[in-house]
Symmetry: C2
Subunit: 525 residues, 2 copies
C-alpha cells in the first residue's frame, strides 16, 4: 500500500514512462533506453530479484561499473522492497568481504570483470544466496540479461513507506571501520529536490554521469534529473577526452565533477578543440578547490559553476551551497576567499558550528559542523551506538571542523580527526597545507600529526613537488614561518612522488599516518 | 525537540535572519521589514500568543486583509505550536461563526475594520478567549502592536514535528458545508519546493502577493519565496493600477494572478504606460483560461507564463503544471487546446483518472481526477468520515471530472457536482459553456442542471451578454445545435447582467441552482 501523501523513488520512473514514453531516459555507450524501456527493464529486474528470493528489507549488493545496469539497480531494488548496497570496486577482497557480511547481502549483482575480486573470499560470503553477473556467463552465476528476459514487465505491488531504507552507503573508509549510512526514500527525494531547486533543471536538460555510481553523489544527481524527466547519460570511467567528447556529442547541459576531474580536463592539450557550448552548469564538490582555480575554470568552460558541501550521511553537495549566482558575483568582486568556501546553508537544511560540549558558537568561531534537515540519514546500519553518538541532540555531527563568516559563508577548516594537537594548541592541517601549497615548487601536500615525546604531536608535511622543480625541507619550513604562527610550522618534511587519494580525490591521511603511529594507542583511525 | 531529519515552517525565517539579516523580507505599503525584523516580530508575536493562552495544537483565527500582520501570523502561529485558521472576510457573520466554532478558535486576530462582521455573533463564539485587533483600539480587545512590543524577541522553543498541522484552511464553500483541510509542515514545505522547482526562483527575485492571503495559494507562494530568501511584496487589494504600478515601482519579478485579474490588467487603458520589464514570470490558476487569452497575455506582458492545477486539499497550482517552457512551445505550435489544459503531472505528485468504482481509466477517458503526493492534506478537521471517503484507497478524490490525453496533458472537464445527468447521459457543463462562450455576443456563461419531470435534469444556460450586444434564447440554442450533440444543448436560456463569483473568480453555481431546486431533495450542495 502506497500512502496518499508520499512519493517514493520508483514513482519517478513510472511517471516518466507515462508522460515521456519515447524520450531517451538513460544512455551509456551503445545502450540508449527510452523512459518506457527503462520502466519495463527495471520492473523486470525487480520481479527477477523477487524470484531470486529478495523480500522486503533484504539487501542486494551491486559491484558494478557505471552503466545501464547500475541505473536499473537503483530503481529495481526499491521496486521490489529491497535495499541496495553499492560496493566500491577499488576495495580489496578483504574489505568487500567485511561490508558484504556486515550488510548481510542476499543477492549480489556483479560485473563479470569484478568476479575475481570476490573469488578469494567467496566461501566467507555466507549470506549471499545468488550472484547475478553482468556480461559474459560465469559458471555458478545467473546472467543479468536472462533475469530481465525471463521476468514479468509489470511493476510489482509492494508495501512501501518513505521512511524505509532505499540504500546503505558504506562510507569510503578514509578513517576507521566502514559505517553503512542508511538513506531512505525521503532522504533521497529531499536531496533530489535540493538539486532541482539549486540547479534549476527541467525536462529539456541532459545530465552526464562521470563520478562512480557507487558513491551517493552520483545516484543523487541521477534521481534528480530523472525526477525532472531530463535525459541521463553516463560514461563508464573518467578520461578527459571521453568527458569532453561526450559533452560535445551528446549535447550535455549539466555535469557533476570533482575538482581533480575539472583540472585534468582544463589541462588537456586539446581542450579548445571540443565544442562545449551546450554546457550550462558544472557542479563540483567532494574536495576543496582554490578560488583562483575556480575562476580559471569558469573562464575556460564558459558556463555557470555551482558547488556545495555534503557527505554520505547528509546527502552530497546540497547542505551548504555556493550557487551559480554567487560564483558570478564573487568572481566579479574578486573575492577568491569566499569563492573557495562551501557556500551558504541551503534552504532545506540547517548548519551550525558547535564546541566540544555541543553549544552553538558565535559567528567566526571554529568548531564542529553540525547539520539537520530531511537529507540527513536515518542512522548507521546495525550500529545503534554510533548512530546515537552521531545524531545526538537532534543534529548530525559531521566530524568536520569549520566556521561560518558574517555573511553566512561556511568554511570547512579540517576533518576533526586530521586536526593536530601540539603542546595543547589546535593546528588545522588544512591551514598549513594552504600555505605550503602556495610555495611555487609544490604540486600537492598533506599535513599530518606524528607522535612527539615533548608536544604530544608534531606537525609533519608530506610534499610532492612539481616536475623539474626542487625545494628543501628547510625552504618549506622557512616558507611556513613567514606565513603562519610559528607553532603551526612543520617540524619535518617528507618528499613523495604523489599523495595517496581515494576515488573522490580525497587524500588518504590515515594511510600517511599509519607508519608513524604503529605501536601507539591513539590515531588508530 | 526538533528532529534531525525535518525542516519546519519556522526554520525559514530563522535561516533568512541568519543569512540575510538586512535584506528586505516583507513589504506592504509603508511597512518594509528586513529579514531580521521579520524574525524578531514573528518571535514576539509567538510569545505574545503563548501569553494569551495558545498552547500546542490550539487554533488561532485570522480575519485580516493582506498585509504585514497576515505574513507574521503565518510564521508566528506555528512558532508557538498553534494552528492558524485563516478566515474569509467575504463570508457572512453566520458563516464565520460556524467556522470559528467548528475550529474551536481560542484567539482571534482581526483587522479593526472586520470587528463589525463579528459583532452580531460575538456572544456565540464561546471558544474565543481573546480578540487581538490590528489598527485602532477597540474596547475589550488587545492591540496587536502592544502584544508585539510587550513580548520577548527570542524564538520560543517548542516540540514540533513535520506531520503536525500548521493551518486549517476551510474550503471556500461553493458546495455544501465548509470543510477544514488540515495542512501540515510537510504538506506546505512540499508545495514550497514544488513552487521553487517549477518557477526556478532564487534570492535575487521579488514576489508580489495580490490574491487574498486567507486562500492557501497565497501563503504557499509566500513560503516558497521566503524559503529561497526572495523578497515578498504584498498589495492589500486587487486593482489594476495598483498591480501594475507596484510591479513597476518595486521591480517585481514573479507574481501569481487568477485569470480574471490578468484580463482586468490587460484591458486597462493605461497598460502600456507601465514599465513591466522586471517581470520574469506570471503564474496563474484557480479557474480555466482560454488558450487564445493566454497567448494574448503572453504577448502583452512580454514575460513567461506558468499555470497549474490544485486545490486547498492538495496544495494549489502545483499538482499538475503547464510550465513556462510548455507555454512557449504550445504557443509556437499554435496548440491552443493544450494551452488551456491544466498541464502535466508535476514530478512530486501522481494524478490519475478513475471510474465510479475507483478503477484507473485508460488514456483519454473522462472520470474523476485523483491525486496523491506529499502536498495532499492530512484530512478534514473533525470530519473522520469525510476524510476517509476523500482519501479512500490512498488517493485524494478531487471531485473534479477530467481526462488525460496521450501526451499526458490533464483537462479538467467539470466539477463532478456540476455535471448534469439528463436522460441517463452525462453532460459536462464546461463543454456546453465553451460552445456558448464562442458566440460573439456572449461575455460569460454558466450551464447548470435544473429539475425536469421527463429527463431528471435539463440543461439550462445562464448568460451575460457583452455591453451593447444582443442575442435571443433561440439564437443561443441554435448555436449549440451546430456545435454539440443535440442532447447537450440547453433547453432554456436565462439572461443576467453578471454571474456570481467567489473571490478566486470561480462561478458560484450553487447559488445559481438554488432557486430551481427549492423543495427538491437532490442538489442540496
Amino acid at each position: 500500500m502506497h500512502r496518499h501523501d508520499e512519493m517514493l523513488i520508483p514513482d519517478i520512473t513510472r511517471r516518466n514512462a507515462k508522460l515521456f514514453p519515447r524520450k531517451e531516459g538513460f544512455v551509456c555507450g551503445e545502450n540508449r533506453l527510452s523512459f518506457a524501456e527503462f520502466q519495463e527493464r527495471t520492473n523486470r529486474l525487480a520481479n527477477g530479484l523477487m524470484r531470486a528470493g529478495v523480500r522486503k528489507g533484504d539487501r542486494v549488493g551491486a559491484l558494478l561499473n557505471n552503466g545501464r545496469e547500475y541505473a536499473e539497480m537503483y530503481f529495481a531494488v526499491p521496486k521490489c522492497g529491497g535495499i541496495i548496497v553499492p560496493l566500491n570496486y577499488r576495495l580489496s577482497p578483504r574489505e568487500l568481504c567485511w561490508i558484504v557480511n556486515h550488510a548481510e547481502v542476499k543477492v549480489l549483482v556483479v560485473d563479470e570483470g569484478y568476479l575475481g575480486l570476490l573469488r578469494p573470499v567467496r566461501a566467507e560470503l555466507t549470506s549471499v544466496q545468488q550472484v547475478i553477473t553482468v556480461g559474459g556467463q560465469a559458471s555458478q552465476t545467473t546472467d543479468y540479461e536472462e533475469v530481465i528476459a525471463s521476468s514479468s514487465p509489470e511493476e510489482p505491488e509492494i508495501d512501501a513507506h518513505e521512511d524505509e531504507v532505499v540504500g546503505i552507503f558504506y562510507t569510503s573508509g578514509t578513517t576507521g571501520v566502514p559505517k553503512g549510512a542508511m538513506l531512505t526514500h525521503r532522504n533521497l527525494m529531499s536531496t533530489c529536490q535540493a538539486i532541482c531547486i539549486e540547479t534549476k533543471i527541467g525536462p529539456s536538460d541532459k545530465f552526464l554521469i562521470v563520478s562512480p555510481m557507487y558513491h551517493t553523489v552520483t545516484p543523487s544527481f541521477m534521481f534528480a534529473h530523472m525526477y525532472r524527466s531530463s535525459t541521463v547519460v553516463a560514461i563508464d570511467h573518467f578520461d578527459p577526452d571521453l568527458l569532453l567528447s561526450t559533452i560535445q556529442n551528446e549535447h550535455i547541459t549539466h555535469v557533476f565533477l570533482v575538482p581533480s576531474m575539472i583540472i585534468f580536463a582544463m589541462e588537456h592539450p586539446n581542450f579548445k578543440d571540443y565544442d562545449l557550448s551546450s554546457l550550462r552548469l558544472v557542479w563540483y564538490g567532494g574536495s576543496p578547490m582554490a578560488g583562483e582555480k575556480v575562476a580559471q575554470a569558469m573562464d575556460l568552460f564558459k558556463c555557470d559553476f555551482g558547488q556545495g558541501f555534503g557527505m554520505t550521511e547528509i546527502g552530497p553537495c546540497f547542505v551548504s551551497v555556493l550557487s551559480p549566482e554567487e560564483h558570478r558575483e564573487l568572481l566579479r568582486k574578486g573575492d577568491y576567499g569566499r569563492l573557495s568556501s562551501a557556500g551558504r546553508n541551503y534552504s532545506n537544511a540547517e548548519v551550525r558550528i558547535v564546541d566540544e560540549e555541543d553549544r552553538e558558537l558565535p559567528i567566526g568561531m571554529v568548531g564542529e559542523i553540525c547539520v539537520r534537515g530531511p537529507h540527513v540519514m536515518k542512522g548507521y546500519w546495525k550500529m545503534p551506538e554510533e548512530t546515537e553518538e552521531a545524531l545526538r541532540g537532534g543534529w548530525f555531527h559531521t566530524g568536520d571542523v569549520g566556521r561560518i563568516d558574517d555573511q553566512g559563508y561556511l568554511f570547512v577548516v579540517d576533518r576533526k580527526k586530521d586536526m593536530i594537537i601540539s603542546g595543547g594548541e589546535n593546528i588545522y592541517s588544512a591551514e598549513v597545507e594552504n600555505v605550503i601549497s602556495s610555495h611555487p615548487a609544490v604540486r600537492e601536500v598533506a599535513v599530518i600529526g606524528v607522535p612527539d615525546p615533548q608536544w604530544g604531536e608534531a606537525v609533519k608535511a608530506i610534499v610532492a613537488l612539481k616536475p623539474g622543480m626542487t625545494a628543501t625541507e628547510d625552504e618549506i619550513i622557512e616558507h611556513c614561518k613567514k606565513n603562519l604562527a610559528s607553532y603551526k610550522k612543520p617540524k619535518s618534511v617528507e618528499f613523495v612522488d604523489a599523495l595517496p587519494r581515494n576515488v573522490m580525490g580525497k587524500v588518504l591521511k590515515k594511510e600517511l599516518r599509519e607508519k608513524y603511529w604503529k605501536g601507539y594507542d591513539r590515531r588508530v583511525h
